[in-house]
């Protein structure tokens, strides 16, 4: 169908010609359109309290206490169950968030502007490893860190970014790919490049040396610091490709720990939802599959733009997560994802694969046809709230999301 090919070419062109720039860090209240007190944005497609998984509930109770909407976790839980909070997907508010993906009014948000199309996308700041809210952590240590991010770190980072006139992200990704990052499970190079780009400005704009030292140490100590930047970037790029009539290109893939949701450019804002799958991977000592929470987070936005599992060939170290895969097999993941995507990125290339461009623009037709589900690199949360990350691995997007999407798409196209 000529019309589909044209529409897809346009969607992919929009993704590829996007110019995402990290321009600021601002409180969500001031920048996220439509976000109000009492609203809690979460990862994945829409979900009601009763169906949420343990870590999601844990994060919600924690964030309610952090926002001062509940006196303690028990109070927060009672209020959540009573319907006192409004739950919405991040994706409905130009936001994304890793794992549980909590977004509320007083969180500092990374602001990425897509300069080609003028749209913006937002993501909270990565809290680091260990006990953190994105894995459902909600104790005092977790909430204190969030307060520090809000009060000290966010303003310091935002000031530095503004001082530099923004941080252009495409180039950082391009370099990160040559340095072994795939921007989902491995962000060590991009985090370092970001620190290198921002540290001088952070020093320049600092008013308190102790705050500066702690802020620099925070970035330096978090290999995944860049993940949230990459996610906001991905959101700003895929949003530019939304709502193109006749396009079968995926604009969101996202999980809430219970359901996996997919949205497609040519089918508007409809979510195609199926139960999430269990990640397969490696566990930290003392943990096993029995402890694992099902797949969760908006972070699959990076796969939607050709990174993460799609750029596995750039990141042989991460390929080991798959289990049987050897480093030299990593490229085959990227090649397989090339079978379900419409284009190769001309700017983001993988040296070890003869500068093959990362596979970009997931086409639901090709997913269903080949039976090749998008491969997503992911962290694994403990299924109980408050414990945190227990491993990392790979998960497949459920095929059912894509068959549903295809049926709706064919219907729209008048093909039967």
């Amino acid at each position: 169908m000529e019309a589909i090919e044209k529409a897809n070419a346009l969607a992919v062109e929009r993704i590829l010609t996007s110019d995402p720039v990290l321009i600021d860090v601002m409180p969500a209240r001031d920048v996220v359109p439509g976000l109000k007190d009492g609203m809690i944005l979460h990862a994945g497609p829409p979900i009601e309290w009763d169906r949420m998984c343990g870590p999601m509930k844990g994060a919600i109770t924690g964030i309610a206490v952090y926002e001062g909407w509940a006196s303690d976790l028990a109070d927060a839980e009672a209020k959540a169950a009573a319907g006192d909070f409004e739950f919405h997907p991040n994706h409905h508010f130009d936001c994304v968030g890793p794992m549980t993906g909590m977004t509320t009014v007083s969180q500092p948000m990374l602001v990425v502007e897509n300069r080609t199309f003028g749209n913006r996308a937002y993501c909270a700041i990565n809290e680091g490893l260990g006990k953190v809210m994105r894995f459902g952590g909600n104790d005092a240590e977790v909430l204190d860190r969030l307060r520090w991010l809000r009060d000290d770190f966010g303003p310091a980072l935002g000031g530095a970014i503004r001082h530099n006139g923004g941080l252009e992200l495409k180039n950082i990704i391009a370099r990160g790919l040559t340095m072994g990052d795939e921007m989902h499970q491995r962000n060590v190079a991009c985090s370092g490049l970001t620190l290198r780009a921002l540290a001088p400005a952070m020093a320049e704009t600092a008013t308190d040396n102790a705050v500066l030292a702690k802020a620099l140490a925070f970035i330096a100590g978090n290999d995944q610091f860049f993940l949230n930047i990459a996610m906001a970037m991905g959101k700003s790029m895929t949003d530019a490709a939304r709502g193109i009539d006749g396009s079968s290109i995926v604009t969101s893939m996202s999980r809430n720990g219970t359901d996996f949701g997919v949205r497609v450019s040519g089918t508007g804002d409809q979510w195609f939802v199926a139960p999430v799958e269990m990640p397969e991977g490696l566990y930290f000592p003392g943990y096993s599959e029995a402890d694992a929470n099902p797949d969760m987070g908006d972070s699959a936005i990076v796969e939607t733009i050709g990174l993460g599992g799609f750029a596995m060939g750039a990141s042989p170290a991460v390929a080991g997560f798959v289990g049987a895969g050897s480093a030299s097999d990593a490229g085959n993941f990227t090649r397989a994802m090339g079978e379900i995507t419409a284009a190769e990125s001309p700017e983001w290339t993988i040296p070890a694969m003869d500068y093959l461009g990362v596979p970009t623009g997931i086409d639901i037709r090709l997913v269903v046809d080949t039976g090749l589900a998008p491969t997503i690199n992911t962290g694994i949360a403990h299924r109980k709230p408050g414990i945190g990350q227990v491993g990392a691995g790979v998960v497949k997007a459920p095929m059912e999301c894509f068959t549903q999407a295809l049926a709706a798409f064919a219907d729209r196209m008048g093909v039967s």
């Binding site: 169908m1 589909i4 090919e5 079968s248 037709r365 090709l366 269903v368 046809d369 080949t370 039976g371 095929m399 068959t403 295809l406 798409f409 064919a410 196209m413 093909v415 039967s416």
Partner: protein, 58 residues
């Protein structure tokens, strides 16, 4: 005669083999350029969906 058919008859034949791997082996043995598709039933083995997909240009 269309260009595609003219190109085929002018040779050399370059084959994408979908199905029996024996054909791929025989063609390779004759130095014919051939790529074997690691085929499995499309659309999880649902012929109706497979048909729909081919009409949607998969």
């Amino acid at each position: 005669m269309s260009d595609a058919i003219k190109d085929l008859l002018a040779g050399p034949v370059k084959v994408v083999n979908i199905g029996l791997e024996g054909f791929e082996a025989e063609l390779s043995a004759q130095d014919v350029e051939v790529v074997q598709v690691d085929w499995s039933p499309p659309a999880g083995g649902d012929p109706k969906l497979a048909d729909l997909l081919s009409k949607l240009g998969a």
